[in-house]
Symmetry: C2
């Protein structure tokens, strides 16, 4: 009955795929892809240039162009031309994008809370603490 020594790697990937699948569905409910949600999430508290954004998302700068194009076309973000470097622009989330970000974030939170709800409160806290301990410093 008791899982003796369940494998950490397998469990983490099972959980990752489950979370990703939930996120994909929630994003899809708002006509967003997972990467668009990540983009919006990054823009919550930053106004990065394209190269910086590419680094955050671990994408080539060329991949960013289309991504930002599609988000801009939907009025979720805007390109703000830099005043001091006429090659550069920063990407800023619009009011509409910010609203959508909040909506999606709330839905995601509710979903994950429900997933973890069966755990006793102390275990949920322990899990959160352990997860954050595994994350490398630059992700925190």
């Amino acid at each position: 009955m008791a899982n003796h020594d369940p494998d950490l790697t397998d469990g983490l990937f099972q959980l990752s795929f489950l979370l990703l699948s939930r996120l994909t569905r929630i994003a899809g409910d708002h006509d967003l892809s997972v990467v668009q949600v990540r983009l919006l999430g990054i823009l919550r508290d930053r106004e990065p240039g394209m190269l910086e954004l590419a680094r955050y998302l671990d994408l080539e700068k060329s991949s960013l162009s289309g991504l930002v194009d599609r988000a801009e076309k939907r009025g979720l973000v805007e390109r703000i031309p830099s005043t001091d470097d006429r090659r550069a622009a920063t990407i800023r989330v619009t009011a509409r994008g910010r609203k959508l970000t909040r909506t999606v974030a709330d839905a995601v939170h509710a979903e994950i809370d429900a997933l973890a709800a069966p755990l006793p409160d102390a275990d949920r806290k322990r899990l959160a603490a352990l997860v954050w301990q595994v994350l490398p410093a630059e992700k925190k």
Copy 2:
């Protein structure tokens, strides 16, 4: 200094994206995509039909056709025509696919072990147990 009450949802998604990024890189080292790795992983101990496989991967059956086509073209899997239902086929991993699956799985395991290595042994076990507790029964 101490993260007081770090958010569970945020931590889990940070970790999920980190794991996914590691998996993407490892898969790419072997010219595989993440979904191809998942496909191979499922075939380790099953020989499902296309519809069954679609259900495992949470994809439309039409998406499976191309996925399996590409894997078959590389000699990683093969379509075995069903003997009792001439519409149907099962998907079987080849010897070559099995070997590649092991290689990738080993690399992934090593990578995640390294990631979790800073944790004391007891904490690693606790983390694994908690993760498995969050997973719904059908994933175990």
